[in-house]
Amino acid sequence: MWKWADFSICTSASTEGRAVFAALKCVIGRDLTLAMRHRSDVLTTVFFFVIVVSLFPLGVGPEAELLRAMAAGVVWVAALLASMLSLGRMFADDYNDGTLEQLVLVPQPLSLLVLGKVIAHWVISGLPLVLMSPLLGLQFGLQGDALLMLVMTLLLGTPVLSLVGAIGAALTLGVRGGGVLVSLLVLPLYIPVLSSAPAQWRLVPPAWGRRDTSRCWRRF
């Protein structure tokens, strides 16, 4: 008899798990569909990133060593600013049209729905930056494994930008001038990410772009 009882508990837990996973998928799918219908928003973020990063080689001049040394920092700061740009839209649109309150009233864990929105935000505004970064790295004279390293640090770091940014976006929801406020709130919180990711990279010997990558990977 207990076996049956046990079994029923297991199945109810797994169906619940499936329902929760379906809800997560649904929120992500919804936000991605919305982004695809508003492609200009996504492109704005990517172009902002590209332009900011491209300005540095033009401004600093063609000094290969200098550019190579600052590449990671520049790309990271640009990625940070670009992800700030899209933070305002994370909850604000849903708040304005009343879908956010409907999400709150859905019989699913709210934290999970927010996680879905954060994941979608990363796919929309973080992933394109990761994919663009090797191209931009080339402008700074990075090669081979150095480019790969840049992509890897961004791949690890940009989800953190979306996660931390969600806190700021949620806190400034419905506040006038929220765009500036969110920068003031979130940028200091980004500092640990900013200082750890390119710092990893800076430890690497300067000539690392071409050879001796093993040490770096160990550290990574």
Binding site: A19, A22, A23, C26, V27, R30, T33, L34, R37, H38, D97, G98, T99, E101, Q102, L103, V104, L105, V106, P107, Q108, P109, L113
Partner: protein, 206 residues
């Protein structure tokens, strides 16, 4: 059974109401009356759990709705002033997302049938933003047709609807109440339905 005990809500510095207690039982309709600014919407939002009341308790079958959390949300359908629709998505997509998130097990055909019943057969594939105000409202109201939860909280449901839609909505409400559901609504027009138990609550008169 929904039980409201000593509910008090404030907006800014102003107290909207206090010591508000009433019970809504299965198969009954509560019509909330009151002039503009008397706190009707705030009351409905407090019951739904969207506004934290200053004092008091909202109880569902004797248990605090805050404690019930998702279990209370499962029993509840709240339609506010905002349509709660994504204007870039079609009516069909909006309803489908809502149904999925609510955990309803319904087929695509049922979603389409709900839209058709609301008189939106030709707008199924159109983004909501190109629909008129009344049609948007109809899309929002189509949610009532998808495996409806027990408690409906409707804030001004008749606004922007034409005569045919108003009578259809009244019929829906009547049917829901007859089936043992509960409806709480605010409206400035007369609710002309024959239901088992019709309660009236007047705000802003004390």
């Amino acid at each position: 059974m929904l039980n409201i005990a000593n509910l008090e809500c404030v907006r800014g510095d102003r107290q909207l109401f206090s010591g508000l207690s009433f019970t809504v039982e299965e198969g009954s309709l509560l019509h909330v009356h009151g002039p503009n600014g008397s706190g009707k919407t705030t009351l409905l939002r407090a019951i739904a759990g969207l506004v934290l009341p200053e004092a008091g308790e909202v109880e569902w079958n004797g248990v605090s709705s805050r404690k019930l959390g998702e279990d209370f949300n499962r029993e509840l359908l709240y339609l506010g002033h905002h349509y709660g629709l994504k204007f870039e998505l079609t009516g069909y997509e909006n309803l489908r997302i809502f149904a999925k998130l609510s955990g309803f097990d319904i087929s695509e055909a049922e979603v389409e049938a709900a839209l058709k019943q609301m008189g939106l057969a030709r707008c199924v594939e159109l983004p909501v933003k190109v629909l008129s105000q009344g049609q948007k409202k109809r899309v929002a109201l189509a949610r009532l047709l998808l495996q409806p939860p027990k408690l409906w909280i409707l804030d001004e449901p008749f606004v922007a609807l034409d005569v045919a839609a108003v009578s259809m909505l009244l019929e829906l409400i009547q049917q829901h109440v007859a089936d043992g559901g509960m409806v709480i609504l605010t409206t400035h027009q007369e609710v002309d339905v024959e239901v088992g138990r019709l309660q009236h609550l007047h705000l802003g008169e004390h």
